[in-house]
Amino acid sequence: MNAKGQSGRGPGQWALAIFCTLALLFLIAPILVVIPLSFNAEPYFTFTAGMLTLDPDAYSLRWYEQVLLSDEWRRAAFNSLVIGLSATALATTLGTLAAVGLSSPAMPWRRAITALLISPMIVPIIIAAAGMFFFYSSVNLTQTYTGLILSHAALGAPFVVITVTAAMAGFNRELLQAAASLGAGPLRGFFKVQLPLISPGVISGALFAFAASLDEVVVVLFMGGIEQRTIPRQMWSGIREEISPAILSAATFLIVIAVLLLVTIELLRARSAKRSGGSGS
C-alpha cells in the first residue's frame, strides 16, 4: 500500500492522500457543520448570506438561550445526569469486581461468563429495549427512574468489564502477595495496591458507561415516561416534531462533551500504557 511512500510520492500516493482527506472530511465535517449553524440568527438549517460574509448580525445566541432557559431541556439535562451517574456507579462497581474475578488465573468457565457479561453490548439495542419493555412492565418498573437506571447500568457494564480486564492484564499479581506478606488483608490489598494501579481502566470504563447512558435513547423511548425524558429523548422529539435550530445548540453541547470524553480517554490510555511499561521494569 505504501510501496512508494518512502521513495517520494507517486501519483498513486497523491490519489490515496486525497481520497483519505475526503474520507476524513466525510467523517468530521457533518459533526463540525452543526456548530456554526447553532449560532444562526435565522430559524434555518443552512448558512445564510450574512453568515457567509461573517456579518455579526447573522449570528446570535438565541437558540442557546432557548435551550438553557427552557424547563423541558433543564429537566432533560437533570434526568440525563441522574440516570447516567447512577447507572455508571452501579455498572462500574459491579463491572470492576467482575473483571477482577475474570482476570484471576483460577477463574472457572471464563469464556461463558465473559460472553454473558458482554452480551448487552452485542445485542442490538432495539431487541434489548423491546425485552426490557416487556419484562419491566410486568414488574411495574416502566416509567420509573429505577427501571431506566437498572437498564442503563446493564448496557454500560460490558464497557467496564472490557476496560478493567484489559487493565488487569498489565497488573503484576505478585504485588498483591507482597502486600499480603507485609500484613495487608485482601480488602486492604485491593484498595491500596490493586485499585490505584488499575484505576485508568476503571475510569475509562466508567466514562464509556456514562457516555453510553448519555447517548441512549431507545430504552428511554420505550420505557421512560414524560417525567424521565433525557437529553437524547428531548432531541429525538426535537428532530421528529418541531425541528428547530435549538436542537443544534443542544447538539453542540454534546459535541463538546464528546471531545472532552475522547481527550480524557486518550490521556488515560497514554498514562496506563506508561504505567504498565513501568511495572515491568
Binding site: L97, M107, G131
Partner: protein
C-alpha cells in the same frame, strides 16, 4: 493470618474469583437476560382468549366442526362476552381475534354491546340475530384456533405465513406479506452499508496504518471523534446537510449543478439511510482494519516492487492477503451492527428507508401487537447471535477491543 492468605489452596481461589463475578452475573441475568427471555416468550405465549373465554374454548373442543356448535357453546360465549364487557377486557379480546381473522373485531364489540342491553336464550338463536357471523362456522373456528395459550401464530406471521383451521400452514394473503420483504431489504441495506464502509475504510485504514506515528495518532483521533459523538447529533447533522433547503443542496445549486427548482431529495428516503448509516458505522470498519494493517511491514511492498512486481500485483499477492483478518472482522462487525440499526433509519429513513427494527418498534409502540413485535425481535436476535458465533469461531470475540 497474612501468610495463610498468601498460600490459599486452588479451590478457594476458584470460588473467590467466581464470587467476585457473581454480583454482575446476577445483575445481568435479572436486568438483561430475563427481559430477552420474556420477549421470546411473548412471541409464543398469548393467553388472551384462553383467559377471557375459558369455558367457551373448553366447550368448543367437543365440537366436530360439522355445522354449528351446540347450544352449550353459545351459552358459554354469551356469558363470557357479557363478563368481558363488564370487566373491560373485551377490547383486548377483539383485537386478538381480529389479528387472526380480519373483521372479527366488529362481531365481538357489537355482540358485547347487544348483550349489555340484554338478550335472551336460547343463545344459538339470539347471537346470530345480534350478528350474522355467529350463524357461520368462521368465528367459532377463529376462537378454536386462538384458544391455546401457546401459539405459533406470531412467528408464522413474522415470516408471512398463517395457520388455517385445518392445521395447514399457508402463505399470508398477498396484501399482508410484508416481513419477508423487509428482512430481505434489511439484509440488502446492511450489505450495501458494509461494502460502502469497506470501500472508504480500507484505503483510509491503510493510509493511517502506514503514516508516521504522530500523524497516525492524530488521524486515528479524527476517526474516533464521530465514534464518541452522540448518535442523535450525527443523525441531526445529516438531516441538516441533506435536506432540500440544506447545506449540500445549497452548494449544488450555487455551483449550478442542480436547478433551484429541482433540489435533490437526499433525506427521509433510502439515500438518507445509506449515507447516515455509512457515516455512523465507518469507524467500526476502520478500527479493526487499522489494528491488522499496522502489523504489516511496509517494506514488504517495496521488496515485492524491487523483485519486479507491479503495484497492483504486489498489492493483490502481498498486502491484501495479510489484511484479510481485518477485512473479515470489520465487515462482520459493521454488518451485525447494521442489521439491528434502529435510530438512524427511524429519523432519516422516511417511509422507504425503514428496516426490520423500525417495524419491531412500531408493533411495540403504535400497533401494540406485542406478540408480533416479540417474534420479529426474536428472529433478528437469533440472526445476530448466529453471526456472532460465526465471528467468535473465525476471529475470536475476546480480541474485540474498544477504540484503537
Amino acid at each position: 493470618m497474612a501468610a495463610g492468605k498468601a498460600s490459599v489452596s486452588r479451590p478457594r481461589t476458584r470460588v473467590n474469583a467466581l464470587m467476585l463475578t457473581l454480583p454482575l452475573v446476577a445483575f445481568i441475568a435479572v436486568t438483561f437476560v430475563a427481559p430477552l427471555i420474556s420477549m421470546m416468550a411473548r412471541g409464543v405465549y398469548d393467553p388472551t382468549v384462553a383467559d377471557i373465554m375459558p369455558e367457551t374454548v373448553a366447550a368448543l373442543q367437543s365440537w366436530n366442526r360439522q355445522g354449528l356448535p351446540p347450544e352449550e357453546v353459545y351459552a358459554a360465549a354469551a356469558r363470557e362476552l357479557t363478563l368481558a364487557r363488564e370487566q373491560r377486557t373485551i377490547g383486548r379480546l377483539a383485537t386478538r381475534l381480529n389479528r387472526q381473522a380480519a373483521g372479527t373485531r366488529s362481531v365481538i364489540t357489537r355482540t358485547g354491546r347487544a348483550l349489555n342491553r340484554g338478550a335472551e336464550p336460547p343463545w344459538s338463536e339470539s347471537l346470530p340475530e345480534i350478528h350474522e357471523a355467529w350463524g357461520e362456522p368462521g368465528v367459532w373456528e377463529t376462537l378454536l384456533l386462538t384458544g391455546d395459550r401457546f401459539t405459533a401464530d406470531y412467528y408464522l406471521n413474522a415470516v408471512d405465513l398463517q395457520r388455517t383451521v385445518d392445521g395447514d400452514i399457508v402463505r399470508q394473503p398477498e396484501t399482508r406479506r410484508v416481513y419477508v420483504d423487509l428482512f430481505i431489504r434489511t439484509i440488502g441495506v446492511s450489505l450495501s452499508v458494509t461494502l460502502l464502509c469497506l470501500a472508504i475504510g480500507y484505503p483510509l485504514a491503510g493510509f493511517i496504518a502506514h503514516a508516521p506515528p504522530r500523524r497516525a495518532r492524530l488521524l486515528l483521533t479524527l476517526v474516533l471523534l464521530p465514534f464518541w459523538t452522540s448518535l442523535l447529533v450525527r443523525t441531526t447533522s445529516w438531516i441538516v446537510l441533506l435536506q432540500q433547503q440544506g447545506v449540500i443542496n445549497d452548494i449544488l445549486v450555487w455551483a449550478g449543478l442542480v436547478p433551484d427548482a429541482e433540489r435533490l431529495t437526499l433525506v427521509y428516503n433510502m439515500t438518507g439511510t445509506l449515507v447516515a448509516m455509512t457515516h455512523v458505522l465507518l469507524p467500526f470498519m476502520v478500527l479493526p482494519l487499522y489494528s491488522v494493517m499496522s502489523g504489516i511491514p511496509g517494506v514488504q511492498m517495496q521488496a515485492a516492487a524491487s523483485l519486479g512486481a507491479t503495484w497492483p500485483r504486489a498489492f493483490l499477492r502481498v498486502y491484501l492477503p495479510q489484511s484479510m483478518p481485518g477485512v473479515g472482522a470489520g465487515c462482520l462487525l459493521v454488518f451485525i451492527l447494521a442489521i439491528g440499526y434502529y435510530i438512524t433509519p427511524a429519523l432519516v429513513g422516511g417511509q422507504s428507508g425503514q428496516l426490520i427494527s423500525n417495524l419491531i418498534a412500531y408493533h411495540i409502540q403504535t400497533s401494540l401487537n406485542w406478540g408480533l413485535g416479540a417474534a420479529l425481535g426474536t428472529i433478528l436476535f437469533a440472526a445476530v447471535v448466529l453471526l456472532f458465533v460465526f465471528y467468535d469461531r473465525v476471529l475470536g470475540l475476546d480480541r474485540m477491543k474498544l477504540g484503537a
